[in-house]
C-alpha cells in the first residue's frame, strides 16, 4: 500500500521545513514553496467574495491537492478574533460541497496530543527527531533569508542573490539528517560571499511587516523582496518563523521581538492585541522608528480585519515618529507593474529624505 499524502498549507520557503516535520507520520507531504496562478484561481472561485486572500489561497491549495488525490490536509487552528478561526471549518465545507474527500486536520489549541498525531501515531522517538530536524531547517531558512536581504541590495549583477538563494533552498531540501543540515548551514556564509558586491553603495533600510501569509508567499506579494532588492533596498521582513515559534511556544518572550516587549512598546498606541499580527505591526513600526529604518512597508491582504483596523494608528505613528509608512494591500490581481511603479516612487522619496538629512 502506498503512503497516504498530507497537504500542507503554503508558507513560502518554510514549506520545506513543515514537510520535513511530517515525515515521522509516515505520510508523503504535498506542498509547494510557491503558489501558482492556477491554485489561486481555484481558491478564488470557491471562496466567499469578501474573504481575505490568505483564505482564498489556502483553500485553492487544498482543492488542488484534493484534485490530485491527496487524502489529508493540515491547517492551523486559531483562538483569536481574526477570521483564521473559521478557515478550517469553512474549507472542509467547501471541499465537501465540491465532492472532494480531503480531510483537514487542525493543529494547535487541541491538547497535548492533537488529532493529527493521534491519527498517524508516530513513535515518540520518530516524532522528536522530526521536530528537531524541522526546527533546524526553520532556523537555517531564517539565516538564508537574512543573508539574502543584505546581499540583494548591494549585488553587482542583478539576480545573483536570487540564484544563490534558490540553489541553497534546493540543497537544504535534499539534506535529510541533522548532521547534513548542520554541514549545509556552515557553507551558507561562503556561498553568499561569492556574490560580487558594490562596496560603495549605501542601501536604504526598509522593514516589511504585516500579515504573515502575504509576507512569506512571494507569489502573493509579487516578489516584493526582490523588487526592493533590485532598487537597492535592504529589507528586513518581520515574519521569520524561527522568531514566531518562540512566541508561539512562549520561549524567550522577554526578548526584543518577544510579544511581552511588543505589547509594552505598542501600549501608548494600541491597548489590545486586536488579533492576527496587528499588535506586532504597531510595535515593529515603533521599533523601526527607534532603530533608524528609512521606511516601513505594511503588507496585508485586502480587507484583512486586524491589519486594516490598525492602519489609522500606523499613519499616526508615521507622523509622530517621522517614519514613512507605505500601505500595501494585495488581492488576486497578479500584474506586478502597478506595485513596481508605486515602490519606485516610495524608494525615490526615501532616497530624497536620506540625502536631505545628510546635508
Amino acid at each position: 500500500m502506498s503512503m497516504p499524502q498530507l497537504a500542507i498549507e503554503p508558507w513560502g520557503n518554510y514549506s520545506l521545513a513543515l514537510a520535513a516535520s511530517v515525515e515521522c507520520l509516515h505520510v508523503r507531504p504535498w506542498t509547494h514553496t510557491c503558489t501558482t496562478p492556477e491554485i489561486l484561481k481555484l481558491g478564488v472561485e470557491a471562496s466567499p467574495e469578501f474573504s481575505c486572500l490568505s483564505f482564498k489561497v489556502t483553500t485553492g491549495h487544498f482543492i488542488k491537492a484534493a484534485m490530485e488525490g491527496v487524502e489529508y490536509g493540515v491547517m492551523v487552528n486559531s483562538q483569536g478574533p481574526c477570521r483564521l478561526r473559521y478557515y478550517r471549518m469553512l474549507q472542509q465545507k467547501l471541499l465537501k460541497e465540491r465532492g472532494f474527500n480531503l480531510f483537514i486536520f487542525g493543529l494547535g489549541y487541541d491538547g497535548i496530543k492533537p488529532p493529527l498525531i493521534r491519527h498517524f501515531n508516530p513513535t515518540m522517538n520518530d516524532f522528536l527527531r522530526c521536530c528537531f530536524r524541522a526546527r533546524l531547517k526553520v532556523v537555517t531558512i531564517d539565516e538564508l533569508e537574512t543573508a539574502a536581504w543584505t546581499k540583494r541590495a548591494v549585488e553587482l549583477r542583478a539576480g545573483d542573490t536570487t540564484r544563490a538563494m534558490n540553489a541553497c533552498i534546493k540543497d537544504l531540501d535534499q539534506a535529510r539528517t541533522v548532521p547534513e543540515i548542520k554541514a549545509f548551514r556552515k557553507t551558507i556564509p561562503a556561498r553568499f560571499n561569492q556574490i560580487s558586491v558594490d562596496v560603495n553603495r549605501r542601501p536604504l533600510k526598509v522593514a516589511l511587516l504585516g500579515e504573515a501569509t502575504i509576507l512569506r508567499n512571494s507569489f502573493l506579494n509579487q516578489n516584493l523582496e526582490e523588487i526592493l532588492g533590485g532598487l537597492g533596498v535592504e529589507v528586513r521582513n518581520f515574519f521569520l518563523l524561527g522568531e514566531e515559534m518562540r512566541n508561539i511556544f512562549n520561549i524567550g518572550t522577554g526578548s526584543k521581538y518577544g510579544w511581552k516587549a511588543m505589547r509594552k512598546l505598542a501600549k501608548p498606541y494600541l491597548g489590545t492585541p486586536v488579533g492576527g499580527h496587528a499588535l506586532a505591526s504597531v510595535a515593529h513600526t515603533l521599533r523601526c522608528a527607534q532603530d533608524g529604518y528609512d521606511g516601513v512597508i505594511h503588507v496585508a491582504p485586502a480587507g484583512c480585519m486586524p491589519e486594516i483596523s490598525v492602519r489609522p494608528i500606523l499613519r499616526k505613528i508615521s507622523q509622530d515618529k517621522d517614519i514613512p509608512v507605505f500601505e500595501c494591500s494585495f488581492d488576486e490581481h497578479t500584474s506586478q507593474v502597478g506595485l513596481v511603479t508605486r515602490l519606485e516612487a516610495f524608494v525615490d522619496v526615501l532616497y530624497d529624505r536620506k540625502t536631505k538629512k545628510e546635508l
Binding site: 481575505c52 489590545t272 486586524p306 486594516i308 483596523s309 489609522p312 499613519r315 499616526k316
Partner: protein
C-alpha cells in the same frame, strides 16, 4: 488609564460638561444605554446627527479606504463631533455577549479614534468585555472616570439598563394575513441605521411583505460554531426558524464586512436545509436605490410564483 480626566492646578478634577457619542457601532450595539447613562450622571450629551448622504460622502473622504462601511461611518460621526464637545466616548468593545467575542475591528476603535482626532479632544474609553466583567461593572468604571458618586452611578446604571431593555425589545407588528413573511437579519448597526436600511425596509413593506427585524434581546446563543457575538445571535435565530412560518430571509450585510464574509456561508447553509429562500443585500456607498429595488421585486416575485406553482400542483 486612558481618558483619565486632567486635574486643575488646585488639585480638583476639571469637570467637563459636554460629552459626545458617535451615532455608529457602539450606539446601535447598546441602543439607548450610553445616552441615558451619561445623562443620568449629569453630563450634557450630544449624539451625532442621524446619517445622511453627506455622512457617507464624508466617510469616503476621511476614512481608511479599506474599512468596512460601518467603521467608515463611525469615522464620519466622530469627525462631526470634534469641535462640538470636550469628551468623546468610544468604548473598547471586546465582547457584548458572555462566551463570545466581538468583531476585532471594534477592539482597536478607541485607539484609532485617538489617532484620528485633532488635538484638544479627549477620547474617553472603558473596556467592555462581557466575558470577564459584567456590563454594569464597565459602566461603573466609566462613571468613576467621570468622577461621579457611587450612588449616582448605581441609579444611572439601573435607568440605562432599563432603557436598553426597552430599546432592544422591538415590538413585533401583528402579521397581515395572506402576506409573505420575511425575517430581516443584519448587524444592529446596519439594521437600525435608518439611512442605510430605511429605504430597503420601506421597499419591502411596499411590496406587501411583513418584515420582522431580528431581535438582539435574546442573549442565549451558544458560541458554536460562530464565536462573533451578533453573528452568533443571528445564526441561532435562523436555526430556530420554523420553515412553514417564514417565506424568506433577507440578510443586510455591509461592504467589506469581514464577519459576514465567513458567516453568510453558514447562514445560507442553515436556510438551505430548511428550504427558506435567502437573499444577501450588500450596503455600500452607492446612492442609487434602483438596483436594490429591482432585486427585492425579483426576489418577492419569484417567491410568490413558487407559492402559486405549489398551489396549482396540489
Amino acid at each position: 488609564m486612558f481618558g483619565k480626566l486632567k486635574k486643575a492646578s488646585n488639585g480638583k478634577l476639571l469637570e467637563p460638561r459636554t460629552i459626545g457619542i458617535p451615532r455608529a457601532l457602539l450606539y446601535y450595539l447598546y441602543p439607548g444605554l450610553w445616552e441615558t447613562f451619561l445623562k443620568e450622571l449629569g453630563m450634557q450629551v450630544t449624539v451625532s446627527a442621524p446619517g445622511t448622504r453627506k455622512t457617507i460622502e464624508q466617510a469616503g473622504l476621511i476614512s481608511e479606504s479599506e474599512h468596512c462601511l460601518p467603521v467608515k461611518l463611525f469615522d464620519a460621526h466622530l469627525a462631526e463631533l470634534a469641535g462640538l464637545v470636550e469628551l468623546i466616548f468610544v468604548p473598547r468593545i471586546l465582547s457584548t455577549l458572555p462566551g463570545h467575542i466581538a468583531c476585532p475591528k471594534l477592539g482597536a476603535l478607541p485607539d484609532c479614534a485617538r489617532a484620528q482626532c485633532p488635538g484638544g479632544i479627549t477620547i474617553i474609553t472603558v473596556d467592555i468585555n462581557e466575558n470577564r466583567t459584567p456590563l454594569t461593572e464597565s459602566m461603573a468604571q466609566l462613571g468613576r472616570l467621570l468622577n461621579a458618586d457611587e450612588t449616582v452611578i448605581h441609579q444611572a446604571t439601573e435607568r440605562a439598563l432599563s432603557a436598553l431593555r426597552r430599546a432592544r425589545a422591538v415590538p413585533t407588528a401583528p402579521r397581515k394575513p395572506d402576506a409573505l413573511n420575511f425575517l430581516v437579519i443584519g448587524h444592529p448597526y446596519n439594521l437600525h441605521d435608518s439611512y442605510l436600511s430605511g429605504p430597503i425596509l420601506q421597499k419591502i413593506e411596499s411590496l406587501g411583505v411583513n418584515a420582522e427585524l431580528v431581535s438582539f434581546a435574546d442573549r442565549t446563543a451558544l458560541p458554536e460554531p460562530v464565536k462573533w457575538d451578533t453573528c452568533s445571535i443571528m445564526h441561532d435565530r435562523l436555526q430556530r426558524l420554523v420553515p412553514s412560518e417564514w417565506d424568506g430571509v433577507i440578510h443586510l450585510s455591509s461592504f467589506n464586512c469581514g464577519c459576514d464574509s465567513i458567516v453568510s456561508t453558514l447562514y445560507q447553509e442553515v436556510l438551505r436545509e430548511k428550504e427558506i429562500p435567502c437573499m444577501t443585500l450588500v450596503l455600500d456607498e452607492h446612492a442609487g436605490q434602483a438596483g436594490v429595488d429591482t432585486r427585492l421585486e425579483a426576489f418577492v416575485d419569484s417567491i410568490k410564483d413558487q407559492h402559486e406553482h405549489a398551489a396549482t400542483c396540489h
